[in-house]
């Protein structure tokens, strides 16, 4: 096994080009676990942490560009990110332990391609876009289009994610992410739900994005859920409709972590609870 730590995107792309059995290392919180469990035997590991910009959070077009090696802990201490996208910050903050937070990254969580990844539904709800680099150049891709199937992404051979862009939040907007786990931490989502919404001057939902995780082979953006609350005040009836739509949209399986019925039901419960938090944030309340 070879290990390389290039100083530029170009060097990294060159190292990865045409190499079979290559793995990109950012935080390594998934990669090292797989290595130690002997699930993978890489030929090459390319550490991207030393590439300029990979550990920076930079303001851009009213939003934020987050380098692929920025850790959850760094995001949690970034005042601008916490103010604009608290749901995304909280979602990445749910990954692993305090120690893992010192390493875990948004990009890694996305590329691990687990349907239960916590930060992914939050990024999808936020409308996040990733910058992909590779042998054929650079392209920007919506987060929703990265996961392909459990453990698989749409990235081509030799490509990796260099940064994640969270767009400008907009006025009267807020986001939230909630997951259900049987314990209180150190666990994996049985259901995850991300919501980002903005309100009009009258307090009605002007726009919304609702996403679900762990209830299908990959994260889903539930357009019907957004439509269910579009133009409405989030009263009991609207929240009940939102819950019902999310429960119906979920396509879970029965497995060791939960049943189909349970996951459908909890999809609705979390959507309702997340919407209440996002609405409060949009109104500028602490939530």
């Amino acid at each position: 096994m070879r290990f390389e730590a290039p100083r530029s995107v170009e060097e990294a792309v060159t190292a990865l080009a045409g190499q079979t059995g290559a793995h990109v290392l950012a935080g390594g919180t998934d990669l090292l676990v797989k290595l130690r469990a002997e699930m993978i035997e890489p030929e090459l590991i390319v550490d991207i942490k030393r590439i300029a910009g990979m550990r920076d959070v930079v303001a851009e077009d009213g939003g934020w560009r987050i380098g692929a090696a920025v850790s959850g802990a760094e995001m949690g201490e970034h005042a601008g990110l916490c103010a604009d996208w608290p749901g995304v910050v909280e979602a990445v903050g749910l990954i692993g332990s305090t120690q893992v937070q010192g390493r875990a990254t948004l990009a890694g969580n996305l590329c691990n391609a687990s349907p239960a990844a916590d930060s992914v539904p939050a990024m999808v709800a936020a409308g996040a876009v990733v910058r992909v680099v590779g042998p054929k150049g650079t392209r920007d891709v919506a987060v929703i289009d990265i996961p392909k199937a459990p453990g698989k992404t749409t990235l081509a051979a030799g490509e990796f994610i260099a940064s994640v862009f969270l767009p400008a939040r907009g006025a009267r907007s807020g986001d939230a992410y909630l997951r259900f786990i049987p314990r209180t931490e150190m666990d994996i989502a049985v259901v995850g739900c991300g919501i980002a919404l903005s309100l009009d001057a009258a307090g009605r939902v002007a726009a919304a994005r609702v996403s679900l995780g762990a209830v299908g082979p990959k994260v889903m953006l539930v357009d019907a859920a957004a439509e269910a609350i579009q133009g409405r005040v989030l009263d009991e009836a609207a929240l009940a409709d939102l819950a019902a739509v999310c429960s119906a949209a979920a396509t879970p399986i029965d497995d060791k972590r939960g049943t189909v019925d349970f996951r459908r039901h909890v999809s609705g419960v979390l959507a309702r609870r997340a919407a209440v938090i996002a609405e409060a944030r949009a109104k500028g309340e602490q939530a």
Binding site: F180, P182, R183, T184, M186, D255, K256, F262, V269
Partner: protein, 748 residues
């Protein structure tokens, strides 16, 4: 042990205090050496190939390609062990499958190689031809006629006709007339309860380092609860004399009963023998979960009759425990302990030991008792609540006391159940208000406790400090406790004594660290060894003073003339006597060998508040208090630690922990992500109340405390969840999907 030998509480100077444990610094700094921390020159890495099938006949194993791989130094299969004595036949078959692989993860071959990478590659080169057989993993399914049978012809005569060959044996306990008693009841509850199989969840995986010299002398470094057991079992399997195998226990990162048997050790020794090189083996977490010894899953019918005033008229339980691929589930102890906390006129338990295609169960903290207590304490709770009675008052009314004839036979001496119930009844926790969706549960629990073979040597060094050598791995602070008891008896400070865990070449036979026996039995032997050393030192002082031995007594760390008639001599301290030992007969030591009896049964009562999320079925533990009789708490912090640890493991068992098998008989959750032991943030601080009702069988009144605290929590949590959710939960774990489904079904 005569009662007047028992020290009074007020006399204790060291016992009952809370000094730092002698192994503490090394453990918090990472210097302590655990199983995987040992290395030897020329050491090889051993790896095991495991069955991917739940049940399969092994038609052929071809190891030739693996043996030919450069770097591979030995390959071992069951054939290498040949015939072994009957008492270890199942043990080696569990360590290395013979004709059949009996569960997912059952070892079928092993290699030793220059590196882990080569060993891994070698495993892939071993060809095993399996004939896959039908399998069964559920206890009720395994008992039915027509179920796939694991072992033809193993059924004992105690089993009546009409059961599958997987039903190995039947036990029965009790007295009185259950049916007549039930007929007198105002209400009878009859329910079936089920519990999942749980694992001890020790953090340190099994690990060992084996060497075997050309002349047949073996050495083994191993993480275990009993290195004498490891020596005896491995010697029998390998056809060695016990004296030729020296076993040294590493520090141990948890055991809870799961390290009272061997898994890797005979295989590592055989690999070392074949390769002529030291061989180290370390299990992965997945191997630990797939192929060590979890506890039994159970299915239990209970019928209990009660009068309106709370008096129990009769109690019956039928317990079915599957203990994995070989006989020996803890159903006998479940059957004996089920009704042990109660004074009952009519009581009967019937237990069935069942095999299935799961790893063979090992001991898990009070083996067999928590599941039985879950069933019984749930039924009592349901009856008490049904009559609108105080569940603690009902238990006080029916509780066992001195003179009660236990359901499993003996008549109790002084016991502490009533004291724990009274302490619970008057504790502020019992009357604290509860909020919406919250519930409170209580339950009692019992454990037998054990003594057994014990050998301790206590040596006085030339400078008058003391070393204690004992043969039980320190799993819960026992070095501190032994040090304290030796210091107490000798009348010297705690820091003047150091206790070590000696290897098997240094002491006589010592029983495994199990049955909550160590503080009791090794403590007893330590005290007696100290008394022997004191007698010797009194003898030396008498010699120096020129008076009779009988005229010298020991007090506060010094020999003194016993009275005015003995003569006027200034006291001789242990240091002064030790300094001149070479002139008075040589080194000073005391030792004691005993098969300790009189362990003293132990009772506890637990109380817990929970909140159940009505939308998700998730349970949060809000408050938890343990009340237990410790006899005498030698080191109260470690007694409290045992209470807390038992409660926490029980909470895990109650809420989330469970072996989950697929239709294919493969374990679905062989890792700590999906085998969910509680994490710190799941728990409140567990409060503890130590009761001290001295055990007449121990010089200081000590009772074992390690196991009883895992007996009540399954039921206590289930009673609390049932109260909060408004529906009786009869199946563990009470995972959120199960609780939510039960609440939805109850609503209709």
């Amino acid at each position: 042990m005569a009662l007047d030998d028992t020290k009074k509480t007020k006399d204790f100077k060291v016992v009952g205090t809370r000094p730092n444990r002698p192994d503490g610094i090394d453990k918090v700094t990472g210097r302590a050496r655990f199983g995987a921390d040992m290395v030897a020159p020329g050491m090889l890495t051993g790896r095991i190939l495991r069955s991917p099938h739940a049940h399969a006949r092994i038609l052929r194993i071809d190891t030739s390609k693996a043996e030919a791989l450069p770097g591979v130094k030995a390959v071992v299969t069951r054939a290498d062990f040949g015939d072994v004595p009957d008492h270890v036949a199942n043990v080696i078959d569990n360590c290395m499958a013979g004709d059949k692989a009996l569960y997912d993860g059952h070892a079928v071959a092993a290699v030793a190689a220059n590196s882990a990478a080569v060993a891994r590659k070698a495993l892939k080169l071993i060809e095993v031809e399996y004939e896959v057989l039908p399998h069964v993993t559920d206890v009720d399914a395994a008992m039915k006629p027509g179920a796939p049978v694991l072992h033809e012809g193993w059924q004992q005569e105690t089993v009546p006709a009409g059961y599958s060959g997987n039903v190995i044996s039947r036990v029965e306990f009790g007295h009185g007339d259950v049916e007549a008693g039930l007929a007198k009841a105002d209400r009878v509850v009859a329910r079936t309860y089920r519990t999942g199989a749980t694992h001890q969840g020790y953090i340190e995986p099994h690990a060992c380092l084996a060497t075997m010299s050309a002349d047949g002398q073996g050495d083994l470094w191993v993480c275990t609860q009993g290195h004498y057991m490891v020596r005896n079992v491995c010697a029998a399997i390998l056809g060695m004399e016990q004296g030729q195998l020296r076993v040294t226990a590493s520090e141990i990162g948890g055991g809870f009963g799961g390290k009272t048997v061997v898994f890797l050790e005979p295989v590592a020794l055989m690999l070392a023998k074949k390769s002529g090189r030291p061989v180290k083996m370390v299990m992965s977490r997945s191997e630990v979960l797939r192929a060590t010894g979890p506890t039994a899953s159970t299915s239990i019918d209970v019928r209990i009759g009660m009068k309106k005033d709370g008096r129990i008229t009769a109690a019956f339980a039928e317990l079915r425990y599957q203990g994995g691929a070989y006989p020996g589930s803890p159903v006998d102890m479940g059957s004996m302990s089920a009704f042990a906390p109660y004074d009952l006129e009519n009581v009967k338990t019937v237990g069935w030991d069942v095999v299935s295609n799961r790893p063979k169960a090992a001991a898990y903290r009070a083996p067999g008792a928590p599941m039985a207590a879950f069933a019984v304490e749930s039924a009592i709770d349901e009856l008490a609540r049904g009559f609108g009675l105080d569940p603690l008052a009902v238990r006080l009314m029916n509780g066992a006391k001195e003179g009660t004839r236990a359901s499993y036979g003996p008549t109790y001496p002084a016991i502490g159940l009533i004291a724990t119930l009274e302490a619970a009844h008057t504790h502020p926790h019992w009357t604290a208000p509860l909020g919406e969706n919250q519930g409170r549960g209580v339950a009692c629990g019992f454990w037998f406790n054990f003594g057994g073979d014990t050998c301790v040597s206590l040596n006085v060094t030339p400078d008058g400090t003391v070393t204690v050598s004992e043969g039980n791995p320190d799993i819960g602070g026992s070095r501190a406790s032994m040090t304290m008891m030796a210091a107490e008896e000798l009348g010297i400070p705690y820091d003047q004594v150091r206790t070590i865990i000696a290897d098997t070449g240094s002491l006589g036979q010592n029983e495994v660290t199990d049955g909550s026996r160590v503080t009791f039995a090794v403590g007893l032997a330590t005290i007696e060894a100290a008394r022997a050393a004191k007698r010797e030192m009194c003898k030396r002082a008498a010699m120096i003073w020129g008076i009779d031995e009988e005229a010298v007594e020991w007090e506060d760390g010094a020999a003194r003339p016993a009275g005015p008639n003995a003569g006027k001599f200034p006291p001789m301290t242990i240091k002064e006597i030790a300094a001149v030992a070479s002139n008075t007969g040589g080194p000073i030591a005391g030792h004691h060998e005993v098969t300790a009896e009189g362990a003293g049964v132990s009772f506890g009562t637990h109380m817990v508040d929970v909140e159940v999320d009505p939308d998700t079925g998730a349970t949060r533990i809000l408050r938890y208090t343990v009340f237990q009789d410790a006899g005498r708490a030698v080191h109260p912090s470690y007694v409290e630690g045992q209470f807390q640890g038992g409660a926490v493991q029980g909470i895990g068992w109650a809420l989330n922990e469970e072996y989950i098998y697929g239709e294919d008989g493969i374990l679905q959750n062989a890792g700590f992500l999906d085998y969910r032991i509680p994490v710190a943030s799941d728990l409140p601080m567990i409060d503890t109340v130590i009761l001290e009702i001295p055990n007449p069988g121990h010089p200081y009144g000590v009772r074992g405390v390690g196991e009883t605290p895992i007996v009540p929590p399954l039921a206590a949590v289930a009673n609390a969840v049932s109260a909060a959710a408004g529906v009786r939960m009869t199946r563990l774990p009470m995972s959120p999907p199960r609780v939510l489904a039960a609440m939805q079904a109850a609503k209709g």
